[in-house]
Structure formats: C-alpha cells, structure tokens
Amino acid sequence: MSASEWPLWEVFTQRRAGLPFEHAGSVHAPDKEMALQNARDVYSRRGEATCLWVVPADCIVSPTPEEAGSFFDPSNDKIYRHPNFYKTPGANFE
C-alpha cells in the first residue's frame, strides 16, 4: 500500500434480520464512517443487505495454511459429536 492509499476494510452483510452476516467483499476508506458508507454504496445496491459490518482488513486474524492441519484435522475423528453416531432403537427423536 502506498502512503496515500486509503486502508482496506472487509465488508459483511446480513441479508435479512435473523440470518448470519456473510463476507461480501472489500472497500477502501479513510475511516470507519466512510467505510460504512462505501460498504453500503458498493454492496447493497440490489437490496442485498439489512445490516452491515465493516472491519479494518488488518484486524482480521486467521491461521496460516501451515497451521491448518493442527488447527482443524483433530476434529475430523470425533464422530461421537454427531447425532447419527448413536443407536437409538425404535425411539422417535424427530
């Protein structure tokens, strides 16, 4: 980024109240008020949002691909966390 470039913000939109926020994309903006406006103007032109989050891109933390194995693979064999692991002869759980 050059010194004069506005910082990058990540934009999350909520399609309808009650639904989770989803990553919509990014915008550049000098500060949070402008980030919110730019997010609104870029990512809700077709009624895609009833609410918005904007987050400075450099505040988002995620594991590196090298860490991914140790982060996520250990949960793959815990099949007893899933309801279909259990035998419940005859009983109705619906």
Binding site: A29, Q37, D41, V42
Partner: protein, 167 residues
Amino acid sequence: MSELNKNIAEYALRIGDTSLILGQRLAEWCGHGPILEEDIALTNISLDLIGQSRAFLTYAGEKEGNGRSEDDLAFFREARTFKNRLMAEQPNGDYAQTMIRQLFLSVYQYYFYTELMKSKDETFAALAEKSLKEVTYHVRHSSEWTIRFGDGTEESHVRTLEAVDTL
C-alpha cells in the same frame, strides 16, 4: 382541467425538474470520480434523484390531463420552461463544488419532503415519504465529505470555501 389539478401539475413539475437536473448533473461524474467507491456512491444519489423525478413528472402529466408522459415532460420542453431550483443546474466544477451543491440541495430537499409528507394530496405525501429516506442518506453523504474537505488539507479547505462562495 380544474384549477386545482393545474396547480398540482405545476407543483409536481417544479419538484421533478429539480431532481431531474441534479440527477443529470451527478450522472456526468459517472466514470470520472476521484475513487471507485465514490464513483459508485455518487451514482447511487443520481439514480435516487432520477427515480424521484420520474415519479413527480409522471404525476404532473397525470394531473395535467393532456396525456403527457414523464419522457414527454423531460425531453420535449424548451430549456426555458424548466422549473428546477437554479442551484441544481450549476456546473459540477471540482468535487468540492459538487459536494457543496449536494449538501445545500439535499438539506433543502430534506426539509421540503418532511413538510410535503403532511400534504393532503396522498400522492405527494407518499412520494415525499419515499424520497425523504433517500435524501436523508444524501445529507449524510455530503455532510461527511464537507467535514473532511473543511478540516482536511489546506487545499481542500480553500476549494470548499470557494465552492460555498460560488453557490
């Protein structure tokens, strides 16, 4: 045509013309804005205004009763017969002039539509209610920029003062 309908048509035309001319001015920026995000933002305002003008011009045509459509009114009148606020047709100038013009007109429209919502004419009241939501955002957008220009750099400050003087 009754005197009342004639007056309503005339009034709707005035409102529609201001939105139309300002929307047209803002559309000139499309593709030439200072940064992509702002290009998109300004176009949103322009689209709101063109939408408003279409609704008011259509209503003017209805009340006039001569079968003139929004397009007849927008495209087939002499320039001298337009009834827009003169502020709306002022040239875009630099971005400060565009923003200050927007601030002045959006604030004007904000108070105007707030009052128009109380109109006994149901169409006016309904159009005003819809337009007010749009204009409220325009006020926000142009205010935020005015603050940044006024308290940004020396250059932006000077340009903004000049814009205020001009307008």
